[in-house]
Symmetry: C2
Subunit: 379 residues, 2 copies
């Protein structure tokens, strides 16, 4: 096997697939990336697969000799990352799996492993569906939901984002038990997704974070998405991401959303975020709790944090308040997470009592509902 | 006490003095910064002092009420850092030492301590000298020496930089036992330093790293430097840095420098650095050792790193070589440190045998001598 390509191309693609290399590999080959050079197509395929997430890219290269091998991801990336911005030649000796990289006056040897033991990528079953989804819709849905998924691995199904879809819209939902974000994104009627389909999957947040990266560098407008009951595949012309789905039934989150509210509060999203960011310095010293005092007569909301014996802080914000006064407390990080994921100029807070869930919504086209449980405090 | 000043001014000065706040304070007040507002001068003085290093700044402010207090450095910096870019008012209640910061619609209270217990800054004795040194000369000397000082606290005197000076030149020397950097900087004859003085001090590297920061933001050309046998003071119009000196006699490093060399090698500094940086990826996997093979017949030097069973790398560089061939090995980091501190286009490596010290020097006006001990390797 022997190919030549620009250093910048090689390092960018190594960095991209490396995200699917096992962090603590159970077998040495899982720390490697599979390289397959194809002389006919003048292309090199790079694959990383940690048995849960797989990433594959195709890279145009000058392939002098076809072949396949696996090479250590970290070491190779470290070396290629330092090479000068010039053409790199990778030549692999078949018997020893030793790769020699040449670039300028530098010559590096890296020891690989045969590709026979590299795990095969998962295949979809016969019941699989294929749809084409707009990149922008996926971006929007992930941005509004991914942050709310549980990071605690013991929460299993909650560590994923639940995605449901038909021909006209996708819904993304994520919750960690303390807050829930539900985002609906409309698929254009005349777009590529017009064919009907039925999507109900829970995708691991980790895979979706990689999908976010893949979407960020996408020049195409639409991705092909294939799925069955066990796996989902996102595919562009050069890049493929394959993830195992989370098993089990996702909670019926719709029933958690209150339908009526006694109090409403509208205010500028950026001002609220800036005040929260400031006062978070104190809240984070203790228990991350911020108290909101909502005053109808003053048409304002006061944010307060007390860190006894250390410091206290207070921020005042004008707001449009309807309904009677309310004192309510939140985990300041949860509140900030939700506000950051929105892009509206104004947001609306809808509340009932101090011990009942609150809903934050952007005052815009964006169809996002962010539910957050207040923290119980003694007055 | 009550003063008002722009947030940007306050945070910049807090950040600067905070470097002298004790990391693990033995007394609560050492975690604080001393504030003294002077209504007559319309100035606030900030002081931090960890009993070894002190930093003092003067900050122009609108002082409505004079007074003095100490406030927690970290908390105050965290809060002020988040305030909007507007005027901040700091009002301190004398009895409780409680400071109230107001900025826009935000109001923060921070609990301080009385200034009575704050340690007084060291005073110089009657034998002290005062000189004026060019900022550029100090910068140059520190850049060429500071990196070579020992970081291991048990090496005591070697954790400092030895500075000697007269009216015409300063010499900076630092060594950690494995390498030695000696830099001479010329003081202009017609400059402010023309008055004769005799400087022989070893200044802790930690204080000099702060001096480097102070020099980097200096708009003045010259700093006042006062010293006796125990302390040294660097002073500009607004900023003062006071450091305790290291006690004990500094090794006679001049006698370590070889006076004759059997072999010389000249090469481009940047090319050598780039090749070393690349190959360092492999060297750092193991023992940081790089082997140099210097060939007179080829007029080149080969850099090689072997990490058995992992990888190997080799870089070739053209060089002007005089004297017979030599195989010699170094800690790659030590070699890189020295090259980075120089600014010449070309450097010269002067060597005798593979087990004798090597001297690296810039081929330029810069008077720096970098001595490095080779590593013994079996061939």
């Amino acid at each position: 096997m022997r190919f030549t390509c620009p250093q910048s191309q090689l390092i960018a693609n190594l960095a991209f697939v490396s995200r699917a290399v096992a962090v603590r590999p159970t077998h040495p080959i899982l720390a490697n990336i599979r390289f397959e050079a194809d002389g006919d197509r003048q292309e090199v395929e790079l694959v990383a697969y940690d048995l849960s997430l797989a990433i594959r890219v195709r890279l145009a290269a000058d392939v002098a000799e076809s072949g396949v091998v696996t090479l250590p991801a970290k070491l190779l990336s470290d070396i290629v990352g330092k090479l000068p911005a010039a053409d790199v030649t990778v030549a692999v000796e078949k018997d020893t799996c030793t790769a020699t990289l040449t670039c300028g006056a530098g010559r590096y040897q890296v020891y690989g492993l045969g590709a026979e033991d590299f795990p095969p990528l998962p295949q979809l079953n016969d019941s699989s569906q294929r749809v084409y989804l707009p990149v922008e819709a996926l971006r929007e849905g992930l941005n509004a939901s991914l942050f709310a998924a549980a990071t605690d691995e013991t929460k299993r199904i909650l560590t994923g984002v639940h995605v449901t879809g038909s021909a006209t819209a996708l819904e993304f939902a994520a919750t960690d038990g303390h807050r829930l974000s539900v985002a609906e994104v409309v698929l254009l009627e005349d777009g590529a997704a017009a064919a009907p389909f039925a999507l109900t999957v829970t995708i691991p947040a980790r895979a979706l974070r990689e999908l976010e990266r893949m979407l960020a560098q996408q020049t195409e407008q639409v991705l092909a998405v294939m799925f069955d009951q066990v796996h989902i595949i996102f595919q562009s012309a050069q890049q493929t991401l394959i993830s195992r789905l989370l098993d089990g039934s996702y909670p019926n989150y719709r029933q958690l959303l209150p339908t009526q509210f006694e109090r409403q509060l509208s205010l500028e999203r950026r001002s609220l975020m800036a005040s929260l960011e400031r006062i978070a310095v104190l809240a984070d010293q203790r228990n991350h709790i911020v108290k909101l005092s909502i005053s109808q007569s003053q048409q304002e909301v006061a944010l307060a944090v007390e860190a006894p014996e250390v410091a206290m802080g207070r921020e005042l914000l004008p707001a449009q308040v309807s309904g009677s006064d309310l004192h309510i407390a939140f985990n300041i990080r949860y509140l900030l997470d939700g506000l950051k994921s929105m892009n509206a100029h104004e947001v609306q807070l809808c509340a009932n009592q101090a011990n009942q869930p609150v809903v934050v919504q952007p005052v815009s086209e964006q169809k996002t509902t962010y539910l957050i449980m207040p923290v119980q405090i003694r007055d």
